[in-house]
Amino acid sequence: MRAAFEGSQAIARAVARCRPQVVAAYPITPQTHIVEGIAKLVADGEADCEVVSVESEFAAASVVLGAAVAGSRAYTATASQGVLLMAEVLYNIAGMRVPLVLTCANRAVSAPINIWNDHQDAMAVRDAGWIQLFCTDNQEAVDTTIQAFRITQETELPVMVCVDGFILTHLFEPVDLPSQEQIDMFLPPYRFSRTLDPRRPLTLGTLVGPEHYTEVRAQLHGDLEAAAEAILKADADWADLVGRRAGGLIKSDGPHTARIGVLTLGSVYGTLQEAARELVPDTPLRLMALRCFRPFPAEALRAAVDGLTDLVVLERAIGPGMGGILATEVRAALAGLRDAPRVHGAVAGLGGRDIPLDILPRLLALADAAEPVRCSVIDLQKMPPARLGADR
């Protein structure tokens, strides 16, 4: 059914059609519309689900963890501070290998407090052991959400679906909402291999000492890397079912002959596509969106940059003291590759700063530099230096 939805409502409906049994969440902008939507669907009898309105994101994550180990498909959503408040539980969920889906309505992290979009929240928990999938539009958000439930079940790795706050969550656009039948066909019933059940008692969350801890953590790493297969397979199967992909591991657009590429995360991919059409229609350019940030698809990335001399990485987060987080990882992934492109780092769109179409020429200009640009924070002139000085 193709119709215009607010992104959050589309996601809420997709979640509801995945038949979660327990949803728990705590209000935080810009996530709230998603859970409100689910609550309304439950209230209207369109979903059979327990919605637990908890006292914190920390509790929300704990509640869905509990629900999942008790054998219920569970879901939560959050953003920003909520992600950080959940952080301890997120690590715990992944370490215990519990299947869960979380929508992160990506938002900046305080301080200064800021409710608008960037990716700092997701980046802050990149090492928690979760699969992290970034969506470039709301169709992908819907499709990825549905796929996430299947991926998490197959891999016993929790999946964080990253959707740009406001930019996607509050955007009305036409979305094809898969039917209940399609989703039921795609998504097997939830079954957890270590469900807590008095008929088959089991102890979860043990104390693991130095003699075993490394093995358990190494297995998490190995399994997370291997999860790329499940992610690709889910996308392929989804394409077989509904006739469209949600981006695999990396989405790429542009001619094979392109020598310059731009890699980004999330909805800015759409901006770049439009800018390329509008502003530099004649420049061969390869645009790429990294859908799968965790596991980091190094091999797919190496293939995707084949033939490029320069790769500009545009990201909406910053690792203070280091620079672009994605750029750093891309450099690491390409290190040692024969004929690897030069990697230029660019940071933009922090805290909801608009990324205008004309960012693209400025990004391309970075490729002209004699040396690779480590980290260029684009568009720094908005706040007058005098004000800065006065505040000092």
């Binding site: 704990s62 509990g66 008095p198 089991l202 043990t206």
Partner: protein
Amino acid sequence: MSKTTVLDLRELRRRQPRFTGMDPGHRACQGCGQSLAAHIVTEAAGPDVIVANATGCLEVFSTPWPQTAWRVPWIHSLFENAAALAAGIETALKQQGRPTKMLAFAGDGGTFDIGFQTLSGMIERGHNVLYVCFDNEAYMNTGVQRSSSTPHAAATTTSPAGRMRPGKRHLKKDLLAIIAAHHLPYAATATVAYPGDIKAKVRRAMAIEGPTFLMIHAPCPLGWVHAPELTIKVARAGVETGLTPIVELERGKLVSVLPIREKRPVTDYLRLQGRFRHLLGDDPVAVQEREHLQALADHNIETYGLLAREGDVRDSVTAALVRRGGAIR
């Protein structure tokens, strides 16, 4: 020991005429009150339960992977989320129509302090969970640091007794009053000195649909500095001095107490434990703090009406009586 004896005991263990939710082989210290309390609670709760356990001694000593002492389904996630975890499991059970009862276990640190918020949320939302706090009055797992449950004037590693300070400066948090303010169906205190009372309260709580709370006073020989065999005697002295009121609340209202038949001075409790050793001398500070603790005990006795009256059928003596063929039902 011969092989046959080993096998016979293993077989005998399987045939014990009671349900045990825990096995031996756990690494609790000798005389651990918490491990005793946990096994009493799980015995009374029976097999059709799931336990969500906060980080703490109980979790650490019972689950050194690849081993576990638990015979019931059990999960540990974090220090401060036992209540939320239990709430999540309970929600799932309810959603699935499974009648299994949910238990949450935590220490006083995980209850009074770091896990307090999730506990409050769990009770407020009415989850059908029996939350059991094993109160040993300090952060024992990390090496005896003071918690908000540590009694006034007790020495811990972060409230040491010295020339200038006689142990913890602050009072033990009146958690029960805060819990009571949630107007939950049932809240009670108990102590390892009265296993039968614990079992009765667990069963009572299990029979209630909705959030219930049981706080069990559980001496820690290591942290309280007493010989391991004194665990029961210390706990009992806590009751008989009035420092450990054993009460039951329904919807926040006091409905019953374990009356003290013969009130003992608080020094009977203090002198058993090294954590109060600095209070036993004749120096003015020790004398004053002793009097303070006595006043706190007297206040408990007055507030809860703990002194036995004529006609009480059950009191601090009868609750522990034994007879041939077993006393604890």
